[in-house]
Symmetry: C2
Subunit: 395 residues, 2 copies
Amino acid sequence: MPTQPIGDLVSVYRDALLDDVVPFWERHSPDPDRGGFFTMLDRSGQRYGDDKPIWLQGRAIWLFATLYRLVEPRPQWLELAQRGREFLDRHAFAPDGKMYFSVTHDGKPLQMRRYVFCEVFAVMAYGALALATDDETAREQARRCYRRFVEYITTPGKIAPKIDTTTRPMKGLSPLMCWLSLAEMMRGIDPTTDYDTAINRCVDEILTHFVDHDRRCVLETVAPDGGIVDGPDGRVMNPGHAIECAWFMLDIAQRRGDGTLVQRVLPIVDYALERGWDTEHGGLLYFVDIDGRPPVQLEHDMKLWWPHNEALIALLYAYRATGEQRYADDFLKVHEWTFNHFPDREHGEWFGYLHRDGSLSTPLKGGTWKGPFHVPRCLLLCWRALEALPASSAR
Amino acid sequence: MPTQPIGDLVSVYRDALLDDVVPFWERHSPDPDRGGFFTMLDRSGQRYGDDKPIWLQGRAIWLFATLYRLVEPRPQWLELAQRGREFLDRHAFAPDGKMYFSVTHDGKPLQMRRYVFCEVFAVMAYGALALATDDETAREQARRCYRRFVEYITTPGKIAPKIDTTTRPMKGLSPLMCWLSLAEMMRGIDPTTDYDTAINRCVDEILTHFVDHDRRCVLETVAPDGGIVDGPDGRVMNPGHAIECAWFMLDIAQRRGDGTLVQRVLPIVDYALERGWDTEHGGLLYFVDIDGRPPVQLEHDMKLWWPHNEALIALLYAYRATGEQRYADDFLKVHEWTFNHFPDREHGEWFGYLHRDGSLSTPLKGGTWKGPFHVPRCLLLCWRALEALPASSAR
């Protein structure tokens, strides 16, 4: 049982953020010639590819604008966010307004996907800039991307379904999670519009349709009315996803002072750890079949960096909301496994992909999915939450 | 250095095929109610899902029709193939003639994909039935699926490209490999049509555009003229794919008595082992970056069953063609690792997905991709090739 007082960790999170992780990305990621961010970086920060994934452009802009606003107004952070935003403005949008999934280093279109997740990170990027600089154009761009995202996910057939919905109607957790988090962000930058209705709808739909208290799990895919979908797709739990969703809602509950919502969300945190924590090797599994049938994702038992980031935030927020020692203990358990396995002591930043036993699978620091986002967001949010704990509870 | 005479292995391959692997699928895979094959089978053969992936319907039909023709005319094998074919006829084709990727157990459409690989396995299924029974309808269905496949892969834009071809023109190894193997099959069942032109075209294009002798590798993706594609996609080698491609061509060379082709193909076998064999843990890696940059596929260093199946066939065919002891030695090396790690001694058949260190990742026996195909095809082809070795060379 870990016994370290968690209040002692403030400087661990702050120093990792400001002295290690952010400098790694500042040094290696920005493209000085074209703007935007390179993210295909090897262990030492050297590029192994020049393409620019659009998810990560938006996420990087969010990070630097948010550091500028919440940590300190360093001009270089704002400039990085603004140069990223120029690249996004210029190269990320197809003629019909939908966003590309990836473009070349000089902005030529490479891939368009069916989904609208690039739009999610664009809302975060423009929204963070609007919050940091009160820029009306950024605010309007955030609004526009938000409206487009909502239109896509709420209009049946607007995103061509992967699985024939006549044969097997179903819905996923991801769009709702994203909607929830974007509506909460937009609420803070656009007081002229009602976002609370969307927030309440997402919270209720997630808690009533995707959380299964009988089986103590959170499902990734359910029937439109929340019923069970037959087969492996209907049994998948992604513990990192579930626990990320939990902290989105704990954060909303904190803002609202809504203790009832806290109590409704806490089971998700418990289920994610019950289902996801690997009792043999430690760390959080990537995918779990909730009936113990054979997982079908090849990477199911790998340990990815980001579920650990989300778990740290969620456990700290659960502790902040309840003061229950078990959440502090679990936070320390996850903290220790995470900091013992992911950070690269030699070249900085964190590795992203470990085998089940904790050994390294690939040494890359960034790619299409990993970039300047989950690690620094976790370090920033945990640092601030740890700092804000009352001294008496920071045991 | 292995010293077992490989001729002694005839019974190992035959017994594994007839007493273990085929019975597993006969027992657990056929759907007695609707026809077709269940493939989502756990370790003991119990179903964890009822959907029917179309690739595997075609592959299973191919297997049972081929066993009937090449091993012995057991009526139950022909009946399984024919009941599978009825399911395929009835449920695998969309109204426009393109094939679904998966359907429900009772044949309702689930997923349509851009690619035409279902058509590949349909040609194999109908073709194997035509060979086994001289059925004119099956022959005509094989012809029709073949023509459709060729039309799709040779008509620019007919398959919507994943990556914008204006920005980055490129082509993949998979369609050519499939075309090569289908044309060779069709040649045997349809003497009225010229297939040799297609075979020669595929052989030349693979050998001149995808095999890189300077870097001693086979690429999955190249520029349309065979040039290098920048970035991780252009550096991917899939050793199992490469070595499968090699035995397709060694088989053609054997039929033709074409020693020159043998010599042109053998480097692929060498490169696949040089690049793919894991000198630390043994076994073949799934994906390799040929410049040693960080692999981007999460499953890159897993050990999958099928590359080992393909390597065994290719090494045996290389030995058959050359009599060079090093191919027999490599065959034994791969044989030993494969038979020590993949077969399930308790419930029969083989596991499919191991971690890099050879430990089990998931205990499933079948799924969307693994079914009654690579293992029994390998056992059958190796059994026959081992049996046909001259006694003096079967050292």
